[in-house]
């Protein structure tokens, strides 16, 4: 630690499509509650940003148990988007969030374009809410339950609906459960997205062999954790070549080295997800590690390493 203190601090500021961050390290939605859950364990003021648990118009109770199961180097979850709903979020959670000296991004989810637009409008103009992240991995009830995030036209439409309803910077969180992630990113860019974040969880499942029952009551769930990092990194790299809006990398990040891989692949910022559960200090360690890396690489600014992966022959 002493050695770290003696190195000069690099410039870690980044801008995610109109959302300025003091550093590129954020927490991923659904892994950090509404921030306060971690107040004793993390210096929240030090974070680049906090993405809070996804909010819907009505409170959602979530799925029946069991909701989570550990897998090799990862976990499956089927929480079912349990949340307090927008009214309680605004009255009970925002007063605390606005005392934090960090950027607060509110993740929103809905069943229809109207619901997304309503949430975006309702969350605008509040002190302590700095941007929106749109979860488009939800089923579109009016279109037979197909997820918005697996159809480029629907993804574009939901982006446009949210953009029309708010002046806040809008980040679209992409689902990895598609054949061509780059075309999804291009669709939301055309819809007016200020940035994209990726990846959401990969759909998976597990079976208890003695009872022959699925390990999750919901049968299928979202895989997260270090197990998905290579997939996430590949997708960020592909999207970086397809769009010009900033990218926020998510997927199995637990160390500074992980975070730097995403920056080199083209992400402007990153979100730490599952690692918050088992290593609440992960975000702070990554910030410290970024300073160290930039010093070793003789860089003074984190922005100079974004997308600087070296391809082709090493000679």
């Amino acid at each position: 630690m002493d050695a770290v203190k003696t190195i000069p601090k690099a410039d870690l500021q980044v801008n995610i499509g109109g959302l300025p961050l003091r550093n590129p390290v954020m927490t991923a939605s659904g892994t950090f509650g509404y921030g306060r859950e971690f107040e004793n364990l993390v210096n929240l003021h030090r974070l680049g940003g906090i993405v809070v648990k996804g909010i819907s118009i009505q409170p959602r109770p979530g799925n029946p148990p069991p909701r989570i199961v550990e897998t090799s180097s990862g976990m499956l979850n089927a929480i079912g988007l349990e949340n307090v709903g927008i009214e309680r979020f605004l009255t009970e959670k925002v007063p605390y969030l606005k005392t934090l000296r960090t950027k607060v991004v509110v993740n929103i989810l809905g069943d229809s374009l109207d619901e997304y637009a309503y949430l975006a409008e309702k969350l605008s103009g509040h002190e302590g809410i700095h941007a929106l992240e749109v979860n488009i991995s939800c089923p579109n009830v009016k279109k037979g339950g197909v997820a918005f995030g697996v159809d480029p036209e629907m993804a574009k439409a939901v982006t446009a609906a949210v953009k029309t309803a708010t002046d806040l910077p809008v980040m679209i969180k992409l689902s990895p459960n598609v054949t061509d992630i780059a075309s999804m990113a291009q669709a939301v860019e055309q819809g007016g997205a200020d940035s994209v974040s990726l990846i959401n969880t990969l759909i998976g499942m597990g079976i208890d062999t003695s009872s022959r029952r699925p390990k999750l009551a919901n049968v299928i769930g979202g895989l997260s954790g270090p197990a998905i990092k290579p997939v996430a990194l590949r997708m960020v790299w592909q999207v970086a070549q397809a769009v010009s809006i900033p990218i926020v990398g998510i997927g199995g990040i637990e160390t500074a080295e992980d975070a730097i891989e995403f920056l080199l692949a083209g992400a402007t910022a990153i979100q730490v997800g599952t690692a918050n559960f088992y290593d609440p200090q992960a975000t702070e360690k990554i910030i410290t590690g970024l300073h160290q890396y930039l010093y070793e690489q003789k860089e003074i600014c984190v922005r100079s390493i974004i997308g600087t992966i070296r391809l082709g022959s090493s000679t």
Partner: protein, 261 residues
């Protein structure tokens, strides 16, 4: 409620039975802030497999900031935990959740089955500080066999309690379930604290409800964080709404839990 993340040095790691261990760590902040029935999340390895911390109820707190955990080797996490040696460091988050309400009605019955006995030792110790003479409290402990149960019975006896034991194979005390011991003592107690396998707790909850004796249960579920963030540790309340074991529990009034679907 304050909670801490603490690097804790392993002080002792005692094998009580073939698969049962007692881990003692120096964790002064967590030890000082903890109450009976609360739990800690422990990282059992430095690798990403197993990835998640594991919840363990606080078994005992002793002077000098010592925290004791009791566990049985069952799966990947506990197999890793078993490898910890004195002098090595481990990483704990705690104390977490709501523990037992024990300022209420005396005398009490403490009923534990298997590893559910773990939090009851710390509770038994704390009950010594309240009014009832300790002989009035009833301690009922059950396990599969004497080898697993005898060392735990011993702990409570050293505190001055009389213990009634039950084993599945009859090798110690009553031959049968520990729940069968409750009927006789129920008229003489005013609170029942229970921790053990789900069917045991469901049976005790029914008995207590029929006798109109308050019952507190300590529940166990899988959980990823223990902090109220992952929302994975769900149980049903009687109205089929959800409760989270890490935040609303792990200790619940038995009437707040839906025991059968």
């Amino acid at each position: 409620m304050p909670n801490f993340q603490e690097k804790a040095l392993v002080q002792a790691h005692e094998q009580l039975a073939p698969d049962i261990f007692r881990l003692t760590v120096h964790s002064p902040q967590i030890a000082q802030a903890s109450a009976p029935g609360q739990f800690v999340m422990i990282k059992s390895s430095n690798t990403s497999d197993p990835l998640l911390r594991r919840p363990f109820s606080i078994h005992d707190v002793t002077s000098g900031g010592m925290l004791h955990l009791l566990y049985k080797v069952i799966g990947k996490g506990t197999r890793c935990l078993q490898n910890l040696s004195p002098g090595e460091q481990t990483d704990l988050i705690g104390p977490l959740g709501h523990g037992f309400q024990f300022s209420v009605q005396e005398p009490a019955c403490l009923l534990g089955g298997g590893m559910g006995i773990a939090p009851l030792l710390y509770l038994a110790k704390s009950l010594q500080n309240v009014s009832s003479p300790r002989q009035d409290h009833q301690i009922l402990l059950g396990a599969r066999t004497s080898v697993e149960l005898a060392p735990l019975v011993d702990d409570f006896q050293q505190l001055g309690y009389t213990v009634q034991a039950a084993t599945d194979d009859g090798s110690l005390g009553h031959h049968g379930f520990v729940s069968e011991l409750l009927e006789e003592v129920l008229p003489s107690v005013r609170t029942v604290y229970v921790c053990g396998p789900h069917p045991l707790m469901a049976a005790i909850a029914r008995q207590c409800q029929a006798a109109d004796v308050p019952c507190q249960v300590s529940l166990e579920t899988h959980m990823a964080c223990g902090l109220g963030a992952c929302l994975g540790c769900t149980i049903y309340a009687p109205d089929k709404s959800y409760r989270h074991v890490c935040k609303h529990g792990p200790v619940f009034d038995a009437n707040e839990v839906l025991w059968t679907l």
